[in-house]
Subunit: 271 residues, 2 copies
């Protein structure tokens, strides 16, 4: 799950500053929830140290978040904290609604998985990431079961790249301002020129390909989904284990995938 954060982390270093001002307690509490999710199970002192916050403040907030049902602790003599099911329940509702998309996509996704036998992923853009919001499993066994909520940098996954390729120029420029790292690496920066070339190819072909993406070495082919105004906001992809889905197999699936993505875009435009 780290991959989704990699690029986000750099920016969050600033967020982790300690902004005095309005709604500070709320901000602290939410940051606490996010960090507990990341580091769970984690102790109070450890948390305070990593966030550079006073122990007493963290402790008080932890108790509050427990009361409100967002955090839980195990029963040990040195309590360790983790997040409850609340965020998932809340987020599930978000997806349920947010998605005319989900409704428009489901039948198409189901059809696609029967045509191809592979797993179909639906991702929604969230800032500079793409978040997996729905998955329909292929009929084959030995599948890759990524959990809903997994997120990747837009420059990583095939669906992310296909969204990137059709983004308004200004937004893309802004995205390219911060360096993008190659998957599996935290130091190896992708040259901007290389990324631009790939995006140009994606625009031309109408789909993107990714091979061997962590965590579970999976390969995928992805296409963008557009809203009424023609802006890409989601991605559809066919995903499978790298050793079974090689580039030629992926290319063979391209026409079906592109057709499915277009059908969803059209379905979304008809509200």
């Amino acid at each position: 799950m780290d991959q989704g954060k990699q690029s986000g982390e750099a920016k969050r270093a600033t967020d982790d500053a300690d902004p005095r001002g309005p709604s500070r307690p709320v901000g602290l509490a939410l940051r606490l929830v996010e960090r507990v999710a990341e580091w769970q199970p984690v102790g109070a002192s450890d948390l305070a140290r990593r966030l550079a916050l006073p122990k007493a403040t963290v402790h008080r907030l932890l108790l509050a978040l427990e009361t409100f049902g967002w955090l839980e602790r195990d029963g040990g003599s040195r309590p360790l904290w983790s997040v409850s099911m609340r965020p998932i329940a809340v987020g599930g509702r978000a997806i349920e609604w947010k998605s005319g998309l989900r409704i428009a996509a489901l039948s198409v996704m189901d059809a696609l998985r029967h045509e191809t036998g592979e797993s179909i992923h639906l991702g929604l853009v969230d800032g500079e990431n793409i978040v997996l919001i729905e998955r329909i499993d292929g009929v084959n066994s030995v599948n890759i079961f990524l959990p809903v909520g997994t997120s990747w940098d837009l420059s990583w996954s095939s669906s992310g790249k296909s969204v990137l390729a059709h983004m308004p120029e200004a937004e893309l420029e802004n995205f390219l301002k911060t360096p993008r790292y190659r998957r599996k690496s935290e130091t190896d920066i992708i040259p901007v020129a290389e990324l631009r070339d790939e995006l140009a190819l994606i625009r031309e072909r109408g789909f993107a390909i990714s091979v061997g993406v962590p965590p579970a070495a999976s390969s995928s082919i992805g296409a963008a989904i557009f809203d009424k105004r023609g802006k890409p906001f989601a991605g559809l992809s066919i995903t499978g284990a790298s050793d079974r889905l090689r580039e030629e197999q992926l290319l063979a699936l391209a026409p079906r995938l592109v057709a499915a993505a277009r059908r969803i875009s059209i379905g979304m435009s008809m509200d």
Copy 2:
């Protein structure tokens, strides 16, 4: 998605009270997030009215939550609010970790869906609800695709009831203190005696059955999953459309389901 809240709503009426005291702003903010998720897209005044809070307070919190990335508004002249992808991303991490369960369950679930051809659901207990955290789709078409994050009252779903049946006496008593409504009804209370009888039957047989559960009329057979200490904390179920999965079909699947649930429990006890 309403079904998950139905019974919860009664209790939340009290939560919705306005407790002065420590961490009040945090509590208000979190309640706001939960309610926005429930009612989205929703306007500020509407929200304030429904929560019986001053407009100014709600407005200030909305702006803060937007800053922190938990809420978003559309661009209309009368902004409507909805939740962002943040909760899903946070919750996804929760699941990722929480689940030795997920890891232990996945291969068993995959095997089970191949044996039966039906969709397999994995739910985790969250207070008095059970939350769908993982779904593996059956190989048949015309499936029911419930989104991860959907939650039901424990007395509703088959997996919930099977958890209830094996709960410690004290906890069960506490659960039965508040009245439980029949699904699809907001007034029709299930007699406690009837519920007790059903739970006794479930204990005896080792599995529970539910027919025609909303939102998508689905029927299911469920069994509980236990932790090392023998406490039920999750549920496994086979779910399908009501018109295809009748009681006799469900009963035929029982032995396989019970075996799978037991295998997961054992897998969990071996850390």
